[in-house]
């Protein structure tokens, strides 16, 4: 019998079923001619025999196929009555069996769409039935999809944001009309040749979800569901968890999809890993979106991140709120940040008028990063600067300078990240955000300035000192963490009207400091009077105080006698006036040192020390501040005839094992203090001082050499003094 059923003589396996039942074949192997096939045939017939194609969907004559997706085919057709082109989509229910319920819902949605008119939504002209299927006749948009637009050439984040905000407006308008898109993705956003942005294909994914609910939650199997509905990874990549689970889908699901698409467009990668349908589900259940890297503003990321929340309740209340956050953060910043003095209001008006970004935006949105300031090329240039010399300390100094700059850069970047990705902009927050931004911005400019000083053409006579000083200076960069001290940064922030000048001046004042650290007080002296003059003219008290403080400190260092005193008094007064507690505390400490060392007045020194201490208590002293204070206290105690060791040991405790220049100084002071009474302990501390100095400055650094020589001489005699003058 098998041969009888194989008239062609082939002996195909499995064909030899002579007893094959004549049962009804429940599906037809040969595919029935599809609509597209019929269209192609009609078109070929028209060309061969001149018979005009009569293939129509409703009253629209079909021209050619525009595209095809999971939900149906789209044809370019002609509306002959109105003589215009239309895009006609034949919408499919799942599989062959378009259930009545789905079709009803689809018709309902289609009618709602037809009522919706918005510049960012592809207009649905009419809907109807064709061969048992719902069709939609829509506005024909001559252009490209957002996907194509993004792929065509590199786009700036501003351009991208602009397109997405426009698309978002369309989406939001649909939401207000009670329509959920359910399948928002760049493929469904059309960019016209006129630049218009329109969202298409609303609500048409509905039919898929409808079917799921009939199977009940127990029948849930994500992979088969996704396959059956024709969804592929390209579609699930935009779906939120609730949609993947087959749960309730609403406007907030669109918001999630919108944010995934925007994230991908801005950062060039997916916010969640995308391996398989099941893998994606697990990822969404467990993970937060990946922190993006890219030029796009951190404040934009903050907005997107909320839209990507796993729980719909944690997303933005609606899409308009999200869009307002994307558009309106600049306005919010102005409203909240600049209310105060008349100058501030004037600044706000100016800002509004020009649309200039504020400090926060410059820092967070416009790529104010350490690129070009402390990056690989700059790092190599600094390294080369040391390597070109043959000073014994150069290799050790180089390594420490690089490491300290690296540390600063890391902390600075962390602070920036923390500030820029902070969650909320409360009414009062923008002022603080601005002040913190300005603080970080100064830190950045200061690093740039210091690196610049190092890379200057070397002054050969002083070069060894400069490079040794670089290590000292690199230890004295202000901790970027201080920019998180809200009270302080608010006090120091200049009014917007003088913001730019104030920042430049601030960096110049810091230049005086850094030149002093680099062992070039001579150069600082030349610059100090013009700097003071500029500060006076600008009149921003915290900066006047800082300039006077530098002048006093410089005088103290160059000529440590009487001229320093009135300068200190002025500087302290200004610092207190400007409520700059850090500065007050530091100046009081220096004053106590000065008075104890040079004037030998224990009572006055003690008073200064007490005020410095209470100021530090208020502002919060770090380990190094405490260590320095302890050192001064030991001087004051010794001056009054007491034992300095307890204070010095307390200072070492305060350092908590951290490698800091103060460790060397304190051990040195202890060696000094114990030299007469307990020579063995003194030698121990002397050795610890050398080891600490080696740590922070390097083995061949001049400061370390000083400690080592003193240790040597202490081993032979008992007369030399240990303690280098504290700053």
């Amino acid at each position: 019998m098998p041969s009888a059923i194989q008239p062609d003589g082939t002996s195909l396996p499995h064909d030899d079923r002579g007893d094959a039942p004549q049962a009804h074949v429940h599906w037809t192997t040969r595919p029935a001619p599809s609509f597209e096939q019929r269209r192609a045939i009609a078109k070929a017939r028209e060309r061969l025999f001149g018979v005009p194609s009569a293939l129509c969907i409703g009253r629209f004559r079909v021209e050619r196929r525009l595209g095809e997706g999971g939900m149906g085919e789209v044809y370019l057709a002609i509306d002959e009555a109105l003589e215009r082109k239309v895009a006609v989509k034949r919408v499919l229910a799942s599989g062959d069996e378009g259930g009545g319920q789905q079709q009803d819902r689809l018709r309902h949605e289609a009618r709602a769409l037809a009522k919706l008119s918005h510049p960012n939504v592809v207009h649905v002209y009419e809907t109807g039935e064709h061969e048992g299927r719902t069709f939609l006749a829509m506005e024909y948009v001559d252009g490209q999809t957002l996907t194509d637009w993004l792929a065509h050439e590199p786009r700036s984040w501003r351009e991208i944001l602009e397109r997405f905000i426009a698309a978002g407006r369309g989406l939001a308008a649909a939401h207000q009309a009670g329509i959920v898109h359910r399948d928002f993705k760049p493929d469904n956003v059309l960019i016209g040749t006129d630049g218009s942005v329109r969202v298409a294909d609303f609500g048409l994914a509905l039919a898929d979800d409808e079917q799921q609910t009939t199977e009940g939650p127990g029948a849930f199997d994500i992979e088969s569901r996704l396959t059956r509905t024709g969804a592929v990874l390209g579609t699930i990549r935009y779906m939120p968890l609730e949609q993947l689970r087959g749960g309730r889908v609403d406007e907030r699901s669109d918001q999630f999809a919108f944010c995934v698409a925007l994230y991908e467009a801005l950062y060039g990668c997916a916010p969640f890993e995308l391996s398989s349908a099941r893998g994606r589900l697990l990822t969404l259940e467990r993970q937060r979106p990946l922190e993006p890297r890219g030029r796009a503003p951190a404040s934009v990321w903050r907005v997107i991140r909320r839209g990507l929340a796993r729980d719909p309740a944690d997303r933005w209340p609606d899409l308009n709120a999200l869009l307002d956050a994307l558009v309106g953060r600049r306005r919010a910043l102005i409203r909240g940040g600049l209310i105060g003095t008349a100058a501030a209001v004037a600044g706000a008006v100016l800002w509004l008028g020009t649309g200039e970004p504020g400090a926060f935006e410059r820092l967070c949105d416009e790529g104010e990063t350490l690129a070009g300031i402390w990056d690989e090329p700059r790092r190599q240039a600094v390294a080369a600067r040391f390597d070109r010399t043959n000073f014994a300390h150069a290799p050790g100094s180089r390594d420490r300078v690089l490491a300290n700059f690296d540390d600063f850069a890391t902390q600075w970047s962390e602070q920036r990240q923390q500030l820029c990705t902070a969650d909320e902009i409360e009414p009062r927050r923008p002022a603080i955000a601005r002040a913190r931004s300005l603080c970080l911005s100064v830190g950045r400019l200061r690093l740039d300035m210091l690196v610049g000083l190092l890379l200057e053409e070397p002054d050969h006579a002083a070069d060894e000192t400069t490079l040794a000083g670089a290590v000292v200076a690199s230890h004295e960069l202000e901790d970027p963490g201080r920019c998180a001290n809200e009270r302080q940064v608010i006090i120091l922030a200049p009014p917007p009207a003088i913001e730019a000048q104030a920042q430049a001046l601030h960096v110049d004042i810091l230049r005086l400091h850094d030149l002093r650290m680099l062992g070039r007080p001579d150069r600082a002296s030349e610059l100090v009077e013009p700097t003071i003059a500029r500060a006076d003219v600008l009149g921003h008290t915290p900066l006047v105080a800082a300039a006077f403080s530098e002048r006093a400190t410089l005088a103290f260092e160059l000529d440590a006698v009487t001229p320093g005193v009135p300068l200190f008094v002025t500087a302290i007064t200004l610092a207190e006036l400007s409520r700059n507690d850090y500065l007050v505390a530091n100046l009081r400490r220096l004053a106590a040192t000065h008075v104890a060392r040079e004037m030998g007045d224990p009572r006055m020194a003690h008073d200064q020390l007490k005020i410095a201490q209470s100021t530090w208590d208020r502002v919060g002293a770090g380990p190094r501040d405490l260590a320095r204070m302890a050192h001064v206290r030991s001087l004051v105690v010794a001056l009054g005839g007491g034992r300095p060791e307890p204070a010095l040991l307390a200072g070492l405790d305060a350092l908590q094992g951290a490698a800091a220049p103060e460790r060397a100084t304190l051990h040195g002071a202890l060696a000094d203090a114990l030299q007469a009474s307990e020579p063995a302990r003194a030698l121990e501390h002397g050795a610890l001082a050398v080891s600490a100095a080696t740590d922070v400055w390097g083995p061949e650094h001049p400061r370390t050499r000083d400690f080592r020589e003193k240790l040597e001489s202490m081993r032979h005699s008992s007369t030399s003094s240990w303690t280098p003058a504290p700053r």
Binding site: P33, S34, A44, R47, F49, E68
Partner: protein, 207 residues
């Protein structure tokens, strides 16, 4: 020769002599098969290839040899048209029908919409086969041609075509197994395919 063959041959002669009505009738008799031949291989533009196929048939001088099924004749032309189109599509790259698959040459969905799950699986499975195998199977299942007729279209020997069909079915089963969402779907698709083939053979045999 069958009356069908006689009719097709006569109509073609008339069309070649300028009778558009006769041409129109030939077209209506075979356009669907030609369209089907292209459909699962191309995303767009099959109307062009349909047109070229019929034009080439009418402009050709070649007489249909007796013993050649008319459908095999026209599908042979369609195959040539398709191969030329493909060469343009891949911009001069050599296409090896024994190796290259349509899913790799023309990625993206074909006209899958509106089909049953089994049909979608079958269509996608076919697209995963090297072209020569895909074409052979489609002709075998859909155009109801036998191995000898398919061999004529594809310019291979009868025996080579027989072993190729065996191989093609193995490949198809493997390809579908890889992409099937469930074992049940694969089973029902394969079962349907075999029953179809079997029923077909019965019918032909009983005629």
């Amino acid at each position: 020769m069958t009356p069908d063959w006689q009719l097709d041959a006569t109509l073609l002669e008339a069309w070649r002599a300028g009778d558009a009505d006769a041409g129109s009738r030939v077209f209506e008799r075979h356009a669907e098969a030609v369209a089907r031949f292209f459909e699962n291989k191309l995303r767009d533009g099959s109307e062009d290839l349909i047109q070229v196929t019929f034009l080439r048939m009418v402009e050709g001088r070649e007489r249909i040899r007796e013993g050649i099924v008319f459908r095999a004749f026209i599908l042979g032309i369609a195959r040539n048209v398709f191969r030329e189109h493909l060469r343009k599509l891949v911009k001069g790259r050599e296409v090896d029908p024994e190796v290259d698959t349509m899913s790799s040459l023309v990625p993206g969905p074909s006209t899958m919409v509106g089909r049953s799950r089994e049909q979608r699986l079958l269509l996608e499975g076919l697209r995963q086969l090297p072209m020569g195998y895909q074409t052979a199977l489609e002709l075998y299942y859909w155009e109801e041609l036998d191995a000898r007729q398919i061999a004529d279209i594809m310019d291979v020997s009868h025996s080579a075509m027989r072993s190729r069909l065996v191989k093609a079915r193995e490949l198809l089963r493997d390809a579908m197994a890889k992409i099937a969402e469930s074992h049940e779907l694969l089973a029902s698709t394969l079962d349907g395919l075999e029953r179809w083939a079997s029923e077909l053979r019965h019918r032909v045999n009983n005629e």
